[in-house]
């Protein structure tokens, strides 16, 4: 695809555990264009986080990328040396993690955590780095940045820690930011602040963003395109508007019908069963045991990710036969 900043093709990332091979990401394909925000939607175990970790090549042991290609700005990420990767992480691609309490280092001050990166990548002096750190705190809306720089993470509230994690990710002005459930651990009013901040920063800095979340509300609000994952596979990908109006995968439809809404009370349609075990995923389509449209054919065949319309891909054998409801 043209103009793609990040292109992920057929990515497979497996974890080789004692209990067996966990197929955390099993054939994921998507792309991120310049200056856009895409959503990566999924529940726990859907592989959305591991996909982001794979792009940055920071998969923890015993995980390994076993197949696929990842291209960033046209270059092959998987062919890079560890040194080259280090040049990429930070200035080019950065990530904000879900839990700021565990992603910030508890024994260093905020200043040290921010200026270390700047001194390494931007070759700033200590003094320049700490000035820049102060500017970054202002950028993410932290009041009284001078005192906050001297603080340790435990002295800060959850919302403030997440702002600092965002400031750190933005410190080298990355072209692509992965935000992994950045607001899940925050209170609603603080979530509103952080989402608004991320929207503004994305616009002002002209970066691309991958918003990883399970919250369809955040998807509707923040993203232009969306990729829906389930049990390590991509189920559907298209423009956000289309996902809500004309979903073509039964999982997307089920997900939309199962979430409560703050603006109305309605009958919630339950998705039966549980999220599958990734060591022995269901045969055929991974969603078939929970899918109300499933037939024999779904058990036996793995559905390919098909292009069903302009920029709309779906992995469902029966997509032509079923008619689905959006919101």
């Amino acid at each position: 695809m043209e103009n793609s900043l990040l292109e992920v093709q057929g990515l497979k990332t497996y974890f080789f555990t004692e209990a067996g091979v966990v197929k955390a990401v099993d054939d994921a394909t998507f792309d991120v264009r310049s200056k856009e925000t895409i959503g990566l939607v999924g529940e726990s175990g859907s592989g959305k986080t591991v996909t982001a970790l794979s792009a940055l090549r920071i998969i923890p042991r015993p995980g390994r990328i076993v197949a696929g290609s990842i291209k960033f700005e046209g270059t092959d990420v998987l062919a890079k040396s560890e040194d080259e990767m280090r040049q990429l992480r930070g200035p080019k691609m950065a990530m904000v993690f879900q839990d700021p309490s565990s992603s910030l280092n508890p024994v260093y001050t905020v200043e040290r955590q921010l200026s270390d990166i700047l001194m390494l990548h931007r070759k700033l002096t200590k003094k320049e780095a700490s000035q820049r750190a102060e500017y970054l705190l202002e950028l993410v809306g932290i009041q009284d940045p001078e005192t906050r720089l001297k603080a340790y993470p435990h002295e800060l509230s959850g919302g403030m820690k997440q702002r600092i994690a965002i400031a750190r990710a933005l410190s080298c002005e990355p072209t692509l930011l992965f935000a992994d459930e950045p607001t899940t651990n925050l209170d609603v009013t603080v979530q509103a602040q952080v989402l608004e901040l991320m929207k503004k920063l994305q616009r002002d800095l002209g970066m691309s963003m991958v918003m990883i979340t399970h919250d369809m509300g955040i998807i509707a609000d923040m993203t232009e395109r969306v990729t829906i994952m389930y049990a390590g596979r991509v189920m559907e990908a298209t423009e956000t508007k289309t996902i809500f109006h004309e979903p073509r995968h039964p999982y997307t439809e089920a997900l939309l019908a199962a979430v409560p809404r703050v603006d109305q009370r309605r009958i919630l349609e339950v998705i039966p069963g549980n999220i599958p075990n990734l060591i022995e995923p269901p045969s055929g389509c991974v969603f078939h045991p929970r899918c109300k449209y499933a037939r024999r054919i779904c058990m036996d065949n793995v559905p390919p990710l098909e292009e069903t319309g302009r920029g709309h891909t779906v992995a469902c054998i029966r997509w032509k036969e079923v008619s689905l409801k959006g919101v």
């Binding site: 509707a220 998705i271 919101v327």
Partner: protein
Amino acid sequence: MIMPEPLLEVQSLVKHFDVVQRGILRRTKTGIVHAVDGIDFHINHMETLALVGESGCGKTTAAKVVLYLEDPTGGEVKFDGIDVFHTFRTGDTATRLKLRRSMQMVFQNPYASLDPRMTIYDIISEAFLVHKHVPKEKWKDRVYEVLRMVNLEEYHAERYPHEFSGGQRQRISIARALAVEPSFIICDEPVSSLDVSIRAQILNLLADLQKQHGISYLYISHDLSSVRQISHRVAVMYLGQIVEHANTDDLFTKRLHPYTQALVAAVPIPDVDKKTMRIILPGEVPSPINPPGGCRFHPRCPYATEVCKQREPKLEEYQKGHFAACHYATKFI
């Protein structure tokens, strides 16, 4: 018309915690956490009241005090006409157990609230051991019965908690609560640690159990979408106090308190055609150790005036059954 007695009546409930500095020889009290600061509410038979608020607003503490799991600082709780605090303080074991049987709790995290070394059978039948309301030969039948009530199977009884998913574990917690046939269950964020596709299962289950067995709930949550779905009435808490209280639909459509307005507006709606109009509140929830004077919300309130800094607003009824604690509530009607 005779108004039916509410099942649960909470009046001027207060819970303060001392902040203590531990020295070598003595402990000095350095402050007080105003966790719950004078709240009133009631729950009718077969009704669900949601207690809503952000972390630190005192909603969980309030629930624990209602069940006398925390010692109250002040106030009164009546359950079915019985004075709860009085019973637990002075009553004999039999009356206390009787009260415990009617009031149960389901906790937020089903990974922490089930003992990993007990089978599901042991977890559920432990209640029979304590309350002795089921003869030993009926234990098995009763365990199977409550498992079926939460849509689990009989063979699950012999398994251990680690063999279950989060949603199933939450069903087990609910089954455990049901084992003593309670008329009232406090659910503390029962779905917030679950995956989205599983939340609807639990919300629907709670609603079905209410219809079939006439159970009342106090539903504690910060997730307003699930609150809208499950509750009949909603009380919004901020820094230990109730700031607004109304029927669910009224509360979500005619928000009289600026905090409720911001809280509801902050929730992203899963619909591309509904643009979220966020009201961004400045700052964060202040510490309950030194809550702001006047209206506790005034430092973050977009409408605050001099009056709000000086005078604490009372919770007043503005429309039938719709209470708010704001000097300017009439402005929003």
